[in-house]
């Protein structure tokens, strides 16, 4: 994709809104997250902030910690009280965005817990309930970042109808991306965010109208993206669930896809377009998402 004109100056108020959009945090569930054995690989600080790296392996290794309580959360972090291997009282500071999906579905990813014997059936059941849930666009960090990048680029570029794409496929993929529910709802929130300049609000509303008017390949049908099992389970893969179980997950999702023959082509097309978009915007996890989609759609 090639921008037609140099980037316009960034509208900081507008940009801040996208940055500060509230991440979902369920502190009620977090408060109940006590005494789970965590396996962590990053430097640890004492509660007073003093570093004691000399006590820990210099290379990244798993350190067994016992979470004893939820200490609180801030703009960018979620903090837990923990007990170290020698019974030390410590705190761990984790990225807030990582807790959005897991606190929404109330499930720890296997990467965080030493309890590998989690209940996959329960997790699959919860993911089934996520079908059609518009929160998915916000709680999966990678999806949220993707839509944020699309909106950001739409703002920096000239009017959408002046953009030229480098291939027919890119045109289709980007048309799907800008019409995805996540992009539209981000623009909707931008248009109603307090303190935003009137011209930015007008831009957001105008862009929504413009996007709704563009032609899109009927196979994509972005309005049913949230019904797409590949999108739902792909979100879980991006959030580091099922690290060692992708074959089973693929087979499970495949059976869901084949149960909906009318939407099958659309679901597959959406997933491949999404994989392309994630790759285009260099999203972390893009490769694992692509592999999951390819493994699931293989032979369909």
């Amino acid at each position: 994709v090639t921008p037609m004109e140099p980037e316009t100056p960034v509208d900081h108020v507008w940009n801040d809104e996208l940055d500060l959009e509230p991440t979902f945090i369920d502190d009620v569930w977090l408060e109940g997250l006590t005494r789970f054995p965590a396996a962590l690989t990053f430097p640890i600080s004492r509660p007073d902030g003093g570093w004691r790296q000399e006590d820990w392996p210099s290379t990244a290794q798993e350190i067994e910690l016992q979470v004893t309580g939820f200490a609180g959360y801030g703009a960018s972090s979620v903090v837990f009280d923990v007990t170290g291997p020698k019974g030390e009282k410590l705190v761990i500071k984790t990225a807030r965005r990582e807790w959005s999906f897991r606190s929404y579905i109330r499930e720890l990813p296997p990467s965080l817990s030493r309890d590998k014997c989690q209940e996959p059936d329960r997790l699959h059941r919860k993911l089934e309930r996520l079908i059609g849930d518009p929160m998915l666009d916000q709680i999966v960090g990678t999806y949220s970042d993707l839509y944020r990048s699309i909106v950001y680029n739409l703002h920096d570029w000239p009017a959408f109808d002046q953009i030229k794409w480098d291939s027919q496929e890119a045109t289709q993929v980007m048309s799907f991306g800008v019409r995805a529910p996540g992009t539209i709802s981000k623009l909707g929130r931008l248009a109603s965010y307090p303190g935003i300049r009137p011209e930015t609000v007008a831009w957001a509303k105008q862009t929504v109208d413009l996007l709704e008017g563009i032609k899109i390949d009927p196979v994509f049908r972005p309005e049913i993206l949230l019904e797409n099992p590949l999108y739902i389970w792909g979100g879980a893969i991006l959030e580091k669930y099922f690290p060692d179980d992708t074959t089973n997950v693929s087979s499970r999702v495949r059976s869901r896809l084949t149960a909906q023959p009318d939407e099958l082509e659309t679901f597959v097309a959406q997933a491949l377009a999404l994989a392309r978009l994630l790759n285009q915007f260099q999203s972390p996890g893009a490769e694992s998402f692509r592999e999951f989609c390819e493994a699931t759609c293989d032979g369909l």
Partner: protein, 423 residues
């Protein structure tokens, strides 16, 4: 002329002022006996006045009228001779009596601060802390600090110290308690302690039986007591029953705390509309529970009526976190068939899920009703009481909550605990 002095003890004395100056000698003991019954008669009025003053900063018209009516029918103490009656009317005698009554009965008749203190051996601290928590959970004011008994303490002094500010004294009788080797006189006298003719000591047996106790004090052994062997909740229930008896004169009855009033309100099986009004008027309860500020009450968003909507502004970013509390009946068992939540609860959960979806796709419309609203809210559905839940139900509740997204089912005890912490 009758004067009522609000919450002071002087309210107990009706001062009859008369112009007569005839002086007749009278035994002060006889005079005081007459006044003692008079003072008792009016102690209820004193409590009413206190309650009125506490809740509304002045007596409302209903309370004032009630007090006027009661005062109208109250007769001055009946004295034996016309001369004495005449003497009673003399103002200076009345005034001196007022002072005398104030000094003599002030400590005894003034409103106690605590419903009960718990006197216990320091070795029994664990069980006593649990008992105190159970009693506080019922909205009672329990004094625990400095009531640990150690070797060398005087039992009677400790009891008197506790009773100075508490209506009842709960004494935990255990092997550790008896090992303090209290003088037999103090042990036997313990149960005889009373105040204005009312028993004040509530014995609790802990890891002790009647035969063991008999060896120390037959009087103690014969007194009805609650036994921790039946479980702390059972002991607490026995004690609560005594303390909240309308005739007990305890602060929980005469001047109930917010928590106590909330519990009594819930016990009256109110409609959810009434609960919403109560919690709206007493916003601090919900605010303490959710750690937010009450923002909207009965607001409509989409098809959903939000019973109570709280706002928490995150300090570091200034972003808005919304917390919605939906009320179901306190008499509704959350899991009537032991596996599935009650239909009304499932409906409220479904309403909140639908609301989240509606707000996600209609954010501008939502923000026209509630400024800066967003779909990342946390929802709470409140139903039933913890006492309804069998041990297995607690697991069912935990599993049910584990399956919800951003919504938590709570019993009303969650709000009661918030009210207790405020009290």
């Amino acid at each position: 002329v009758v004067k009522f002095y609000g919450n002071k003890l002087t309210a107990n004395v009706c001062i009859a002022v008369c112009s007569s100056t005839n002086a007749v000698s009278i035994s002060s003991a006889r005079m005081m006996n007459a006044f003692r019954s008079h003072v008792r008669q009016q102690s209820r009025l004193l409590a009413l006045a206190r309650r009125g003053a506490k809740e509304q900063f002045c007596l409302n018209s209903e309370s004032r009228q009630f007090i006027r009516n009661r005062l109208a029918v109250l007769q001055p103490p009946t004295l034996h001779s016309p001369a004495v009656a005449h003497f009673f009317r003399i103002s200076w005698v009345c005034e001196s009596l007022r002072l005398h009554v104030e000094q003599t009965f002030a400590a005894r008749f003034r409103m106690k601060q605590w419903d009960a203190f718990i006197s216990h051996a320091s070795e029994d601290k664990d069980v006593v802390v649990d008992l105190a928590e159970a009693l506080r959970g019922a909205g009672l004011k329990i004094w625990l600090d400095q009531q640990e008994l150690r070797l060398g303490d005087s039992l009677r002094e400790k009891i008197d110290e506790g009773l100075a500010d508490s209506r009842f004294g709960i004494v935990v009788l255990s092997p550790s308690f008896l090992a303090k080797q209290w003088p037999k006189r103090e042990l036997n006298g313990l149960m005889a302690v009373e105040e204005s003719g009312r028993k004040v000591i509530l014995p609790v047996w802990h890891k002790i039986d009647r035969e063991t106790l008999l060896a120390y004090s037959p009087i103690l052994a014969d007194r009805l007591a609650s036994d921790t062997g039946r479980g702390i909740p059972s002991v607490a229930a026995d004690i609560i029953q005594v303390i909240i008896d309308p005739r007990s004169g305890s602060p929980a009855v005469e001047s109930p705390s917010l928590a106590r009033r909330f519990i009594e309100f819930l016990n009256s099986a109110p409609e959810t509309d009434a609960i919403r009004k109560f919690l709206s008027a007493q916003a601090a309860i919900g605010e303490r529970a959710v750690d937010g500020t009450l923002s909207h009450c009965a607001a409509q968003l989409g098809q959903t009526i939000l019973d109570l909507c709280f706002l928490r502004i995150e300090g570091t970013t200034g972003t808005h976190k919304w917390l919605i509390v939906q009320l179901d009946s306190p008499s509704q068992h959350p899991f009537p068939n032991r596996s599935e939540a009650a239909a009304s609860i499932r409906q409220k959960v479904a309403d909140l899920e639908a609301l989240r979806r509606w707000v996600s796709t209609n954010i501008q419309t939502a923000r026209e009703t509630i400024d800066q609203f967003n779909p990342s809210f946390l929802g709470f559905v409140v139903a039933g009481r913890r006492s309804m839940l069998a041990p297995g139900d607690v697991d069912v509740l935990r599993r049910y909550n584990e399956e919800l997204f951003g919504i938590t089912l709570r019993t009303y005890d969650w709000l009661v605990e918030a009210a207790v912490s405020l009290s």
